[in-house]
């Protein structure tokens, strides 16, 4: 049951309701697509291992959030301990694109003193005929926020793997270069269990069971 991983990254997925957050995560973690899915209430949790380089596995903990404003008080608590995020909009729903900057503000005001590496995701790209947001304008917005942009489809499994893996790789590089540091009391990044590495006595005393998957 135990799997060895180098780091654990905690990601959060946000965006308006019905943009397809849960479906995207399910496609990534379970490899399947459900035509209808229950509205997420509060937050939901998923996880998956990603091999970023041969032999280098990252455990992703993914928090799925309710899109509705009313649950903001619950979802808010999960920003602080996230190192990365997928900010979703639905390419067939202009309003969800217009709300992207509100979501970003919401996240940024609750993540202090940390920060979240975001990826902008235009979802439901299989519905090209109903597109209301062009790839160019989405890329422009992402650029303005210093993010990358990717278009995905959970239904047709387009770029789902790429979205999560690219974000993971970006965070991995930041961690490796020391731009993102592992800190006590912060769950965003945790170092994992590596064979022949002795955990510090401090970790043992705190009762962290970081090797458990």
């Amino acid at each position: 049951m135990e799997t060895i991983w180098l780091y654990q990254f905690r990601l959060i997925v946000i965006g308006d309701s019905t943009v397809g957050k849960s479906c995207l995560i399910r496609r990534f973690t379970e490899g399947r697509f459900a035509q209808v899915s229950d509205p997420t209430v509060g937050v939901d949790f998923f996880s998956r291992l990603v091999e970023i380089e041969p032999g280098k596995r990252i455990k992703l903990q993914i928090w799925d959030t309710a899109g509705q404003e009313r649950f903001r008080s619950i979802t808010r608590a999960y920003y602080r301990n996230s190192v990365g995020g997928l900010l979703l909009f639905d390419i067939t729903n202009r309003r969800s694109f217009q709300n992207v900057h509100n979501w970003l503000e919401e996240a940024q005001s609750h993540v202090q003193p940390h920060s979240i590496v975001f990826l902008l995701v235009g979802h439901k790209c299989d519905l090209e005929a109903q597109r209301q947001v062009t790839q160019q304008e989405a890329e422009k917005l992402a650029g303005a926020f210093g993010m990358r942009y990717v278009e995905t489809s959970a239904r047709d499994a387009i770029n789902v793997e790429k979205a999560f893996v690219d974000l993971t790789r970006t965070i991995f590089d930041l961690v490796r270069n020391g731009d993102i540091k592992i800190q006590d009391g912060w769950e965003g990044v945790k170092s994992g269990f590596v064979p022949n590495t002795v955990h510090s006595s401090e970790e043992v005393a705190k009762g962290n069971r970081q090797c458990y998957c």
């Binding site: 509205p39 209430v41 939901d44 998923f46 899109g67 509705q68 067939t92 729903n93």
Partner: protein, 285 residues
């Protein structure tokens, strides 16, 4: 009561269908998720048609009220469309009933408005009663208790605190494991249980029996049967949780995967035993 409701519905339908799209599927994309983005075009559309027509209407409503209601209608439409679609009962015709009831309820509770999860609470009532007026009345009654569990109600933290206390008293070994993970915010794995009275944890037949038990228990044994059922769910799997040394994310994941797979009669028996156990403890104190 019934005629009053119908009258209200009729009035609302008139008010709301002033939007050219009416209840059309296309409406969903208009919904502003963030409070600061209200759609002006829709307001204008409503305003055009509801101008103080006092001769034919008993009451007029402020533009603000109507705008608020329209936003709620869009939220309702989004969720009705995806409510338990795999269950045989929810044909387009019956989904329309669900929608009618929810629209009526939200109109009467516009201060709170529609919150995701409400459809989950209404659906089993409609399935059993198959009658809009009856289901509306029962749902209104049910929401008097359930409202407090929604984010605006603030009761969730006390549920978590109660769970923590009960586990501390009844299962110190499990309590110790959970303690390693910090405070009772880590009882988050029961959030959906309390919010929806376990509705998403079980198949419909089990929902009916658990809900009836919760309602009856209030008069027969404990007002807090919900808490004991939650405790029984945890205790049912306590060995698995302990053996695998699960942290709170593992527990969330575990219960997500177990949804609709519980042996509910067995959990129910354990819940009853736990009520008895705690009551005995209190009596012998």
């Amino acid at each position: 009561m019934a005629s009053e409701e119908l009258g209200l519905n009729h009035h609302l339908d008139t008010a709301c269908n002033t939007s050219p799209e009416g209840t059309d599927l296309g409406l969903s994309e208009e919904e502003p998720e963030m409070e600061n983005v209200l759609t002006e075009t829709e307001s204008a559309e409503v305003g055009g048609d509801t101008k103080h027509d006092e001769s034919s209407e008993e009451q007029t409503y402020s533009q603000e009220t109507l705008d608020m209601y329209l936003i709620n209608l869009h939220r309702i439409d989004k969720d009705v469309r995806r409510c338990d679609r795999t269950y045989w009962y929810f044909t387009p015709e019956n989904l329309e009933k669900l929608r009618n009831i929810m629209c009526s309820y939200v109109w009467q509770h516009l201060d709170t408005g529609y919150v995701q999860g409400m459809c989950d609470l209404l659906a089993p009532l409609l399935v059993i009663l198959d009658d809009e007026v009856m289901a509306f009345s029962c749902f209104t009654e049910l929401m008097k208790r359930m409202n407090q569990n929604f984010p605006h109600g603030g009761a969730m933290d006390s549920h978590f605190a109660n769970m923590r206390s009960l586990i501390q008293i009844l299962d110190s070994e499990l309590f110790e494991l959970m303690q390693q993970n910090g405070d009772y915010t880590h009882f988050y794995f029961c959030y959906r249980w309390f919010l929806l009275d376990f509705k998403r944890e079980m198949v419909y037949d089990d929902v009916f029996s658990v809900w009836e038990t919760i309602w009856a228990a209030k008069h027969m044994s404990s007002e807090h049967f919900v808490l004991f059922f939650a405790l029984a769910l945890v205790e049912t799997y306590r060995d698995i949780i302990l053996e695998n040394n699960m942290d709170f994310t593992d527990i969330i994941k575990f219960f997500n995967e177990m949804a609709e797979r519980h042996n509910v009669p067995q959990v129910m028996t354990m819940a009853r035993d736990l009520v008895h156990k705690v009551q005995t403890l209190i009596e012998n104190k």
